[in-house]
Amino acid sequence: MKEMTPLKKRKIHAGVRAGIQLMFFILMPSAFTTAFAGVKYIFVQLGNREPIEFNAFIKVLSVLLVYTAVFGRFFCGYACAFGSLGDAVRALYMSICKKMKKKPVAINETMNKLFIYVKYLVLLMIVFVSYKGMATSTKGMSPWDVFSMLRAGNIEMGAYIIGTVLLVLILIGMAICERFFCRFLCPMGAVFTLIPSIPYLSLRRTRTNCINGCSACKRVCPCNIELSDVSSIEISGECIQCGKCRGICPKQNVKRTLVPQNFELCFTIIRAAILVAILIWAGL
């Protein structure tokens, strides 16, 4: 078989990713809210001094966390309906910028570094509200609820003002900055970030092989990650496994230790298939 150009390879990967995202969006659009409902449930029960049962929410949550511990945040990069929605809005924005020959807005580095901690605050706030049993009084404030309802075709219930405004703001953010919500605000993302994942299945680079002064992988990364060196087993919890860094590297220097380079596409499809299987098993 003829060797493909790197550009063509990148295009194929992007296409496969978009396809997988679309499939999950149609088949399992509620996975992320269900998993997060599990997190909230734990704290509601703690607040009520009641036992934490292994119910439908907890099942989905545990399945996703175990999966993340193995493959990293593949769920975020390929399967989360909200992340996919953000990617779609972003793609739209980029194509508009291109047509109007305008430069897309870029946000500043130091802000990036600080803002990634905001999601823990969001998580703490929601957890606190659940613990105190005030969850019902915040009904209609969650942008996720509004999104899910609109998606389920329940337009009537989309009339929650705070939630709707937040949703619109988030979508604007997602357009201007790739994965804005995931990086800075998502409470479920905060939980995922805290999960240790097997470094040998994630992407790392051989630092000594790098071209001097190159930072292509970091610039293309939606989460602005400095890839770890192969000597370190510490990989960034922010990585959503999108694989863009791997495609862009001019020296094919970004690799998974346990997965051969030309097996990447298969690996992606296998990961997606496993994810579908375990989510169906968990009752979605």
Partner: protein
């Protein structure tokens, strides 16, 4: 220390904490259950003694309340999270004996499963005015309202 290990240790600590928490609560619940059961046994024994004393006392059927409902099966529906939820209520001897979710095409799997736990509350209370399930508010509200609707249909003097 490496962050990878710190994360693993944190995770184990959290899991351990949840396990201990659950165990403690379970023991407490069990202790309460035992106390309740022994109290019940006590009073049942007492009652038995009474019955034995008045051997020929006729047994009554407990408290028969005049019911508002006509026996039969009734359907009702209401808006859930993504659309209509339809339930079927079975009335037997004037009380609700069964509540079944007939259709809920637009609800999400896990949410509906969680929300379904409201069914046993409704049957226990024999009423549709029970608390909704937290975390699955919309779906459980749908089931509750659908039940209310079905009970309307089961009323004796509906014109």
């Amino acid at each position: 220390m490496n962050r990878y290990f710190i994360k693993i240790i944190n995770l184990l600590l959290i899991l351990g904490a949840i396990y201990i928490y659950n165990n403690t609560l379970e023991n407490r619940v069990k202790a309460e259950e035992i106390a309740r059961l022994s109290a019940e046994l006590e009073s049942a024994n007492n009652q038995l003694d009474e019955y034995e004393k008045f051997f020929d006392v006729e047994k009554t059927d407990g408290n028969i309340v005049e019911s508002d409902y006509v026996d039969g099966k009734y359907e009702g529906s209401a808006k859930g999270y993504g659309g209509d939820i339809t339930v079927e209520v079975t009335i037997k001897n004037g009380s609700m004996t069964d509540l079944r979710i007939v259709s809920a095409p637009n609800e999400d799997g896990a949410y509906l499963k969680m929300a379904s736990s409201i069914v046993k509350d409704i049957l226990k209370e024999q009423s549709s005015s029970v608390d909704t399930v937290s975390g699955a508010t919309y779906s459980s509200t749908g089931i509750r309202d659908a039940t209310k609707n079905a009970l309307e249909n089961a009323k004796k003097n509906k014109e």
